[in-house]
């Protein structure tokens, strides 16, 4: 079956170069990097190299890179590692549109007696920076705001946010899982104290992540064990994956320009054609400040899971913020926080591209999507009602 994979915010293909770099460390080069002998030492050198590759990609110092098992672990480690370092402070600030790795910590921390502020977003998915300013107090232990949103691709003004937070002397973490590899990140000129990335969103495999921790940032380890990662994250290193992530970061740095030119052009083409060919369609999120690869569109009066399954039947892989796809009964918390009306929230589809996508693939989607939406609208009781109401207005 033909596969058109446009769900790269969910996960990405492992780059062939990455896989190739990893393979020897599953077989002949199996040494433990902590060992004193040459056999472990050669692996240690390779890990150092990967750490340098990641640091170079982030504009960081290698000593500031901590390898973790995934983006969620990085986020959790940043939050718990900071709160633990400031036990007297009991206030945590985040936004309403975070990934579950941060979002679901809110209720947990509330139960533990913390005060949690979740900042709202406007219809475009943007924060109100005045609300942020007002929320910060002497008691605030940490602010964690995502760099770019996974569902809509909306990019927050992270440096401005960081300036506000740092001016009060409060630690600042950002979940940059979706931003990494899509927009430039440079920790040398940044207000960010901690930043999470995840390997599988940038063509490394699943099961590897990074937490960047700026030198001088107070941090208590979340996973306590051996001396690995300078005591900031115990556990024998996931050697092949770390090496794979190093390679992936090297490639991501190289491909950043292509992401922002060719991939962006493909996304813009897809968006323009969908809006042209399908009426009652809206784009979710601030189009001026958006990841170059992401397009969230809502088709009114139809439901997202149905669209996805019909696309899937044609080999097109996308995702949706509809209730039914998540197994929950309510549509995405991100679209709801933005105030996307129910007519549209249930029918949202996210296309997220990568450098492996082509114009032919976009044309394939553009050819097949309009009849799918039409078919589902023909089945939907609300579409006819809507058309009737339109006719009345015209009369």
């Amino acid at each position: 079956m033909k596969v058109v994979y446009v769900d790269n915010n969910a996960t990405t293909k492992v780059a062939p170069e990455v896989l190739e770099a990893m393979l020897p460390y599953f077989s002949e080069l199996y040494g433990n990097p902590s060992s004193m002998h040459f056999f472990g030492g050669q692996v240690q050198r390779k890990i150092n190299e990967a750490r340098e590759q990641v640091a170079d990609f982030l504009g960081a110092d290698p000593s500031e890179i901590v390898f973790t098992s995934c983006g969620t672990e990085s986020d959790n480690a940043a939050v718990f590692g900071t709160l633990d370092s400031y036990p007297e402070k009991r206030h945590f600030v985040t936004s309403k549109v975070e990934h579950p790795a941060i979002n679901n910590l809110g209720p947990y921390l509330t139960r533990k007696g913390y005060k949690v502020t979740t900042l709202s977003v406007n219809r475009e998915g943007q924060l109100d920076l005045d609300e942020l300013k007002e929320s910060l107090t002497e008691d605030t232990a940490l602010v964690s705001i995502m760099y770019a949103n996974n569902e809509t691709g909306v990019i927050f003004p992270i440096e401005k946010i960081g300036e506000i937070v740092k001016s009060k002397g409060i630690p600042f973490h950002t979940d940059a899982v979706q931003a990494a590899g899509k927009i430039p990140l440079n920790m040398k000129k940044s207000t960010i104290d901690m930043l999470s990335i995840s390997g599988h969103k940038l063509h490394a495999p699943k099961g590897i992540g990074v937490l960047y921790i700026r030198k001088g940032t107070k941090f208590s380890p979340y996973i306590i064990g051996g001396h690995q990662e300078k005591g900031r994250r115990g556990g024998t290193e996931n050697v092949p994956y770390i090496i794979g992530l190093g390679k992936a970061c090297e490639l991501a740095k190289k491909n950043l320009e292509e992401e922002n030119t060719r991939v962006k052009a493909l996304r813009d083409y897809l968006e323009a054609k969908i809006l042209e060919k399908i009426p009652n369609t809206l784009v979710n999120g601030d189009r001026a400040n958006r990841l170059p690869n992401t397009l969230s569109v809502s088709f009114e009066y139809v439901e997202g899971e149905s669209i996805l399954l019909m696309l899937s039947d044609l080999g097109i892989c996308a995702s949706s913020g509809s209730a039914c796809t998540s197994g929950s009964l309510e549509p995405s918390h991100v679209l709801r926080a933005m105030g996307v009306p129910f007519t549209a929230a249930h029918g949202s589809i996210r296309f997220s591209l990568s450098i492996y996508n082509t114009k032919e693939e976009m044309d394939y989607i553009i050819e097949h999507l309009p009849p799918i939406i039409q078919k589902l609208r023909d089945i939907s009781p609300f579409w006819k009602d809507y058309l009737k109401s339109q006719n009345k207005e015209r009369k």
Binding site: Y301, V302, E303, G304, E305, S306, L309, M310, D313, S322, A323, C324, T325, G327, S328, L329, E330, P331, F342, T343, H346, D378, I379, S380, P381, F382, K384
Partner: protein
């Protein structure tokens, strides 16, 4: 990704009976845009009061569309009395099953049918004595009760899968728990009554059941008091037993027999049984 059966996929990709009947005999509408699924069912009867034509329009996920399509196929040609007997489980079974989290789609089908039949009969379904339990999805206590009974639900989570109730803010979950407890206790009582009243036993089954009941419900209690009991024979509905141990000299053995042994046997085996003591 959901594991949908081939039949669900077929009814989703090729739904049967899509549309709206002009000038229908009955119309049923359930759900809403806000809830994420909605179904409008229209039907027309023939001269014999059988469903001649039925059509649906559905806003919702694949299983909602497939459930609607299945419903129309199930009720075509049936009288309203026959159609009324269809449960959400019948719809799900027709489709080769639905993922449990999606069972509410089949419930929506059943509710639309109920609404359409009520509409035909000129009844106002909504006027029933009910209470909205789940405010997020507008689910009533009656709907929750019916889903529990029709599907033998045991947990709040299942109630959410089948009716959506409790799946929004979650504040009504304690109330659902309460309904669940009440309905299940009623169901158990009812089931037991049916079990006792309707059962026709062969002699062998009857004797076995008497033995089981004596062994489980009666003898351990008597032994705890130093007594015992032996089953001698069963003649028709007459259960002949011999009291042993302390029971054999107990002045209240008659009471024990009638009020305890006989009542237990009536409860668990058959209302018609009588217990008689056999003396050596």
């Amino acid at each position: 990704m959901w594991e949908y059966s081939e039949k669900v996929k077929d009814h989703f990709l090729n739904p049967r009976n899509v549309g709206e009947i002009e000038d229908p005999d009955g119309v049923g509408e359930v759900g809403s845009l806000a809830c994420g699924d909605a179904l409008r069912l229209t039907f027309k009867l023939d001269e014999n009061k059988r469903i001649k034509d039925v059509k649906f329009k559905t806003f919702g996920c694949a299983s909602a569309i497939a459930s609607s399509s299945a419903l129309t196929e199930l009720i075509k040609g049936k009288t309203l009395e026959e159609a009324e007997k269809i449960t959400n489980k019948d719809i799900a079974d027709y489709l080769g099953g639905l993922p449990e989290e999606k069972m509410h789609c089949s419930v929506m089908g059943r509710e639309a049918l109920q609404a359409a039949i009520a509409n035909y009969r000129g009844q106002k379904l909504i006027k029933e004595d009910f209470k909205i339990v789940c405010k997020c999805f507008g689910v009533t206590d009656k709907e929750i009760e019916r889903a529990i009974k029709d599907n033998n639900l045991e947990t709040v989570e299942q109630v959410t899968y089948y009716t959506k109730a409790g799946g929004g803010c979650g504040k009504c979950q304690p109330e659902i728990e309460e309904i669940l407890r009440r309905v299940r206790s009623d169901m158990e009582k009812e089931a037991h009554e049916i079990y006792v009243k309707k059962k026709r036993l062969t002699n062998i089954q009857k004797i076995k059941l008497i033995e089981e009941t004596l062994g489980r419900e009666i003898i351990p209690a008597l032994r705890a008091d130093g007594g015992d009991l032996e089953l001698i024979d069963v003649e028709g509905n007459k259960v002949l037993v011999a009291l042993r141990g302390k029971c054999s000299f107990c002045p209240s053995s008659e009471v024990t027999l009638k009020q305890y042994v006989e009542s237990k046997l009536k409860e668990f085996v058959s209302e018609d049984l009588e217990v008689e003591e056999v003396r050596p």
